[in-house]
């Protein structure tokens, strides 16, 4: 019963949202970039804007028009996040909805927060009369009302810029209350696979495997090898412990026989105890060698595990890389967007 209520609530909510956005005029302001430069922020805003256009839900003001109009008004798009500023922009552009966003990038971690404001309800014209130098002056002001976002959505993403761009595109559809195209969802899955691989870069794997055998492999998604390396070390460690245990037993026997040997006054007993003592000592040496060899094996397996982690090629990587496609990506080195074409060579 509760589920039915929930579904009804969601459907009504989505219907309501679509009704709120449907065919209303809307402008997307440049996203404010934190950790990225202005050009990057503008590029990502353009991508988002283009995707919003594809949804065909709202009537979107052309970006260049927004740019020119706000420039004339002396308003900065990206820093326009306050209710007052947004209201002014809305009034300047004569749109009903304003969409603002803040992109926060930290290494490979992205965070995009988008808010849709219904500015048409935010500002109402108001006539104000006042006395200036004994004369009545009538001025038109916009009365500000408390404005909260009509809708807001935040997406956090860790990975490449490609993935983030696709995430933005998907977000645009979801923000407009629509299901994103299947191709984009599929693409995101592929990127996610690549991301798994990217996150598992060689050095991270090596460090993890150096800290704990098999951990780098597990991190790379190769759990079987992870368990193999870990299991090998546990087995070797156990064998080494057994050798150590035998060594301790032999040492105790040696000490016991030595004590009896020293105290003995009978040549036959002395000879017997001497033989037993030597046997214990030989066993001790043997166990010590065995343990040393196992330690070398332990260290060797550990080293091999690290090397394996370095050379490991996760299965997902080849699958993901075998996808041929054109893609719009952001080049981190050139700091500019570019079109990329990938083709599988095998």
């Amino acid at each position: 019963m509760n589920k039915v209520s929930l579904y009804i609530f969601i459907i009504l909510n989505l219907t309501n949202l679509n009704a709120q956005l449907d065919k209303k005029t809307m402008a997307v302001l440049n996203f404010k970039g934190i950790g990225i430069n202005t050009l990057e922020a503008v590029t990502l805003t353009d991508i988002f804007n283009a995707e919003i256009t594809k949804t065909n839900i709202s009537s979107l003001i052309d970006r260049s028009e927004v740019k020119v109009s706000l420039k004339n008004q002396g308003l900065d798009q990206s820093s326009c996040l306050s209710a007052e500023c947004i209201s002014k922009v809305g009034a300047a552009l004569e749109v009903e909805l304003i969409m603002t966003g803040v992109i926060n990038k930290n290494n490979e971690s992205f965070n995009l927060e988008i808010k849709i404001f219904e500015v048409s309800k935010a500002m109402k014209p108001l006539l104000v009369t006042s006395l200036v130098n004994g004369e009545v002056v009538i001025r038109k002001k916009l009365k500000e009302v408390k404005m909260s976002p009509l809708k807001e959505k935040t997406v956090s993403y860790i990975g490449s810029t490609d993935g983030f761009i696709n995430e933005i595109e998907i977000m645009a559809w979801e923000l407009m209350g629509l299901n994103p195209p299947e191709i984009k969802v599929e693409k995101q899955k592929n990127i996610a696979q690549v991301l798994i691989v990217n996150n598992n870069n060689q050095y991270e794997r090596v460090i993890r495997s150096a800290l704990a055998p098999g951990f780098g492999q597990r991190y790379a998604g190769d759990k079987l090898w992870g368990w193999v390396w870990l299991g090998s070390e546990v087995v070797i460690g156990t064998l080494a412990y057994l050798e150590f245990s035998d060594y301790k037993t032999s040492l105790n026997n040696y000490n016991k026989y030595q004590q009896q040997y020293v105290e003995s006054k009978h040549p036959d007993t002395i000879t017997f105890l001497k033989i037993k003592s030597q046997e214990s000592r030989n066993n001790m040496i043997s166990r010590d060698k065995g343990m040393t060899n196992l330690l070398y094996a332990f260290a060797g397996v550990w080293t091999l595990n690290v090397m394996h982690a370095y050379f490991l090629t996760p299965e997902n990587l080849s699958e993901a890389k075998n996808t041929n496609y054109f893609d719009l990506v952001y080049n981190n080195f050139l700091n500019q967007p570019e079109i990329r074409f990938s083709i599988s060579l095998n």
Partner: protein, 181 residues
């Protein structure tokens, strides 16, 4: 994840400690009655040796050691001469060992003469006329007087006699080293 780390670190630490704690003791066999050990020192049977053959003591402490006949054959009597430094040690007492014991009390005489201890021992009566093997002839007690190292040794003029009063060749003459701190 934490458990895996802990497991590996524990394994590594345990292995390292195991290796570090593994020391092989010296192959030392120092029993003065050990024929092989004596042979390594150039003492071959039949011999007269001291047990123990070394002491580490403090000045003023007693030194108690046994005089042993080692792998002797058909010994009926002995005239044993033990050398010691009278300036370092004082003879305190002696006790007859069980090697020459029989139902008839043997002759057992000990004389201390300025750094020489003489032990005369021989079987008496018809029950037992000679003995073979290894055994304690006497337990002797000295006291250390000054710090330093000193030696008690069996003099080479020592005699072992068979029941026909013929001398038995002695191949080994034992000695005991005393370190007084």
């Amino acid at each position: 994840m934490i458990n895996i780390f802990r497991l590996n670190y524990s394994l590594s630490i345990i292995l390292s400690l195991m290796i570090l704690s593994c020391t092989i003791p010296e192959d030392a066999f120092e029993n003065p009655l050990d024929l092989e050990a004596n042979a390594a020192k150039g003492i071959y049977p039949p011999a007269l040796v001291f047990s123990p053959d070394s002491f580490n003591i403090k000045s003023g402490e007693l030194i108690v050691f046994d005089l042993y006949a080692l792998a002797v054959d058909s010994v009926a009597g002995a005239q044993i001469e033990i050398d010691y430094f009278a300036s370092s040690l004082d003879f305190i007492s002696y006790e007859q060992g069980d090697f020459f014991k029989s139902n008839a009390a043997p002759i057992f005489i000990v004389e201390d003469k300025n750094g020489k201890l003489f032990i005369y021992v021989t079987f008496m009566g018809p029950e037992k006329t000679n003995i073979s093997g290894t055994g304690n002839i006497a337990t002797i007690t000295f006291i250390s007087k000054i710090q330093g190292s000193t030696v008690i040794s069996v003099n080479k003029s020592t005699l072992l006699l068979n029941q026909n009063a013929k001398e038995i060749t002695i191949n080994g003459f034992g000695r005991s080293i005393i370190n007084v701190k």
